[in-house]
């Protein structure tokens, strides 16, 4: 390239430079103009509520972010946590939740439960958000819908305590044969398949909520898809639902207990799963609470905010494959692995996120026993780390299996960071303590489930969240008939104990059964407990009365209020 003619004395550059500045100004102006044009165009299609503050004492508004939006809000089909959160605020079942694990009268003002069935008496002032009364028929319609195989509800098993529910769900009986009927508008009579002493704990769920037939049918399959295709009978109603963008709940004036609902608006104009983004919104005073992860925790600590902790009720553990032919079917091998594991080290030295508790049992600490915590009344066998004993058990296992050397074990795990970290910890630990090789099989969520269901693993990093507030939700996980028992563990004694716990009306008998199940799980080394999941979060100090729950809507803002600044 020749340098001769590019510039003569700099005058060209200067003049052209001035031209460029002019062009730049023109460019900026047209960019801003374009932005306003697009903003004006999109205003026609999206709502603009402006930017509100985290908490507004004047209007009684709180603003939140959510990680994803509810897939849909038909209570008979909803299963995920986000749907549970929204439904818990806009719908009410026969019962409602009070502080802690208390159950309070909801749409039903009183009820009787016997060993053959139950009767619920609905309150006279229970109304839908269009002003019409909530009747017993609305429950019958919804419950039949939930067990109807055509609905294909994943939570249909929830209804199995109702007479004939399971057989209807399998398509063997018509839905009309379900054990529930409306005696009159305000009396709901229920027949049980077998005694269900914990029925109250089920009836509080949104799956057991009402759906009004005429409204449902007028929606022609779009029930629960949008704000105006739903009827509400809870403390709040949805007034805006822009998919993926904005969900706004306002106080429901028709709610029977509206006088005791303090908040006027729960506004959720942010949908993102990015904890850092939510924390930034919190810093900017735009959202009332922000969950923290390992990365954002330090950031929040630097601000000297009060960090709250909460255990969300889920338990995580290693599950074994008990199918014949798998080495993990050998109890000595499982015991060796259990004895070599150290959940304390996993939680405190590897995961390092405050809130998590080292796992000690399948039954988490928060479960209620007879008078207090189940764990205090039925302490689990202590998990000790005992490497010499683990090695002895390994030798026994090799003898049983007739092997000189154990083949590498396949450990199935999610491909997400924390899951891989835990799998690698165990890989390292089992190699150093027992000389066992572990191969980690990282898979996306759906493929992990597929491999678990097909039994294509030796060990799997698994977990279980409670469906309802009773030890049974954990106890029946390893029964031979439970489809979630993906390691195919089978023990007639455990099955028998679960049947006792399912049908006994005597609380002591039930709790004894759970205690015995806990012991079997330990003696048989069915799981290696990892941790009870904790969450840490920051919250605007002016927001009070928020209830965190292990089951049901979490967090629960029904009784929340804003404390005006002193």
């Amino acid at each position: 390239m020749s340098e001769v003619i590019t510039d003569a004395g700099g005058s060209f550059t200067r003049t052209a430079g001035r031209q460029l500045i002019l062009l730049a100004l023109l460019g900026i102006a047209s960019f801003v103009a374009l932005a306003f044009l697009l903003g004006w165009l999109s205003r026609a299609t999206s709502d603009t509520q402006g930017v509100s503050d985290a908490v507004d004492p004047l209007t009684g508004t709180i603003t939140l972010a959510m990680s994803s939006e509810p897939p849909q809000l038909d209570s008979t089909r909803a299963t995920d946590q986000v749907s549970g959160f929204v439904l818990g605020h806009v719908m009410e079942s026969l019962l409602r939740r009070g502080p802690g694990t208390d159950l309070r009268p909801g749409i039903a003002e009183r009820w009787e439960i016997t060993d053959t069935g139950a009767t619920f008496h609905l309150r006279a002032d229970a109304r839908w958000s269009d002003g019409k009364p909530v009747t017993a028929d609305d429950f019958v319609f919804a419950w039949r819908k939930a067990v109807d195989p055509a609905t294909a509800s994943e939570y249909a098993f929830f209804m199995y305590p109702l007479k004939n529910a399971e057989r209807i769900n399998k398509g063997e009986l018509p839905v009309e044969s379900l054990g529930v009927r409306a005696v009159d508008d305000r009396t709901l009579a229920i027949d049980f398949e077998r005694p269900t002493p914990y029925f109250e704990k089920l009836a509080v769920y949104s799956t057991y909520g009402p759906v009004r037939r005429d409204f449902y049918e007028s929606m022609q399959g779009r029930y629960g898809a949008d704000a105006d295709t739903l009827l509400y009978d809870g403390p709040f109603r949805i007034t805006t639902w822009v998919h993926g963008a904005h969900l706004r709940m306002e106080k429901n004036p028709y709610y029977w207990d509206a006088a005791n609902v303090k908040l006027n608006v729960i506004d959720i104009p942010y949908v993102t799963g990015d904890p850092l983004a939510v924390l930034n919104l919190f810093k900017d005073g735009k959202v009332a609470t922000a969950p923290l992860d390992a990365e954002t925790l330090d950031n929040a600590l630097e601000q000297r905010w009060k960090i709250n902790r909460f255990n969300d009720g889920s338990v995580f553990f290693i599950e074994f494959n008990h199918r014949p032919g798998r080495v993990t079917d050998n109890v000595h091998l499982r015991r060796a692995l259990l004895l070599a594991s150290d959940s304390g080290e996993l939680v405190y030295k590897v995961m390092k996120l405050p809130g998590n508790l080292p796992g000690v049992s399948l039954f988490p600490y928060w479960l209620q026993g007879l008078h207090g915590f189940f764990r205090q009344e039925y302490p689990p066998p202590p998990l000790r780390v005992d490497i010499p004993e683990a090695r002895r058990q390994l030798a026994l296992a090799l003898e049983d299996l007739g092997l000189a050397q154990l083949p590498p074990l396949v450990m199935l795990a999610d491909e997400t960071g924390p899951s891989v970290l835990q799998a690698e910890y165990y890989q390292n630990r089992y190699k150093h303590t027992l000389g066992i090789d572990v191969k980690i099989d990282k898979q996306i969520f759906k493929q992990r489930l597929a491999k678990m269901t097909a039994g294509d693993f030796d060990l799997v990093m698994a977990g279980w969240g409670p469906d309802y507030d009773d030890p049974l939700t954990f106890a029946d996980l390893f029964t031979s008939w439970n489809r979630n028992n993906r390691g195919a563990y089978s023990n007639p004694e455990l099955d028998r104990l679960v049947r006792v716990a399912q049908s006994s009306l005597d609380p002591k008998t039930r709790m004894d059964a759970f205690g015995a199940i806990q012991k079997i799980l330990y003696d048989d080394a069915v799981i290696v407990p990892n941790y009870e999941r904790g969450v840490v979060y920051v919250r605007d100090p002016r927001l009070k009365g928020v209830e965190r729950r292990v089951v049901g809507a979490d967090p629960d803002y029904t009784n929340a209020y804003i404390e005006a600044r002193p």
């Binding site: 005058s11 849909q72 249909a156 769900n169 900017d284 489930l449 993906r486």
Partner: protein, 310 residues
């Protein structure tokens, strides 16, 4: 011109068909089961779900059904958003992605041309060195870093001013749009700056520029008419694919700024093996990309008369 356009459109349709078929095959070969959830369901419920989504039929038949539905413009019902059709998801969320994408491309295009011209003008001098250093940063730093930095800057800016100048996240007003679109456009702007610079350097040594200077034309005229206009041609060529790439690749920025664009559904669908949404968004994005390339090729003829003859 008309025959050329029709020919290009027909080629485009074949390309889209190929994209749809390849996606269909790839999607069904990915390990995993779309209907499996954390909590197991009974065999009967599973059967009902399979019937609902047509998964009970052989794959070849599923393919034919899918293709014929697609010809009618029906992408089906989402597996995860069970009450929403894929058409509805695209119709609601694509305009958001497109708005963000157009702004980002406008920013990248304007910025790229100006910075490129500037660096060429001051070649090997201080402005050139500084800008080209920043350009290398812009090309190599991934957008999620820019997004996080951009958001943090806003937090500090708002704290400094004492009220919200620009919202930290969310969507709905003009003030929500600026920062995300700048962040999204940065990488492309850096790339365009380099392209513009080299193209400009080629042009300033061209014979016609030498002639123009020898003729004693005014500097403004030489710079604008002879240099800029010719140098901008390669930039326009890549603008079409850039619009498509930015519009479809905005997932990270949408995620960080809580913007309800289509990108989120696109990525989530793949993770969730949501067959209908995967197919719908891929085919839609594919068609969009093909259309953009065609439009740019046609526009190119308008800008550069030499191409029109060919």
């Amino acid at each position: 011109m008309l025959r050329y356009s029709i020919k290009r459109l027909l080629q485009g349709i074949v390309t889209v068909w190929f994209i749809a078929t390849a996606t269909f095959i790839a999607m069904h070969s990915v390990p995993g089961d779309p209907l499996l959830q954390n909590k197991a369901v009974t065999a009967e419920i599973r059967k009902n779900l399979e019937v609902k989504y047509g998964l009970d039929k052989p794959v070849t038949q599923q393919y034919l059904i899918y293709m014929s539905n697609m010809l009618h413009g029906d992408f089906g019902i989402s597996f995860t958003q069970q009450n929403r059709s894929v058409n509805d998801i695209i119709a609601k969320h694509f305009p958001v992605s497109a708005t963000l994408g157009i702004l980002a491309v406008a920013f990248a295009g304007i910025g790229g041309i100006l910075w490129g011209a500037l660096t060429a003008l001051y070649r090997n001098r201080l402005p050139d060195v500084v800008i080209m250093f920043l350009v290398i940063l812009g090309v190599s730093v991934p957008s999620f870093v820019f997004a996080a930095i951009g958001q943090l800057t806003l937090v500090h800016l708002n704290a400094l001013v004492g009220h919200t100048v620009f919202p930290v996240a969310g969507w709905g007003t003009v003030s929500h749009m600026f920062v995300p679109s700048l962040v999204l456009g940065l990488g492309t702007m850096a790339f365009l700056t380099r392209l513009m610079r080299s193209s400009m350097l080629e042009v300033v040594n061209a014979d016609y520029v030498r002639t123009a200077k020898a003729k004693g034309l005014p500097i403004t005229r030489i710079f604008l008419k002879h240099e800029l206009r010719n140098a901008v041609l390669p930039v326009i060529t890549v603008l079409g694919p850039a619009i498509a790439a930015i519009t479809t690749g905005g997932f990270v920025v949408e995620y960080v700024f809580a913007i309800p664009g289509l990108g989120r559904y696109f990525v989530q669908a793949v993770n969730q093996l949501d067959y209908t949404v995967i197919m719908g968004t891929t085919v839609f994005y594919g068609a969009f990309l093909v259309l953009m390339v065609i439009i740019v090729d046609l526009l190119y003829g308008v800008v550069d008369p030499r191409v029109r003859l060919a």
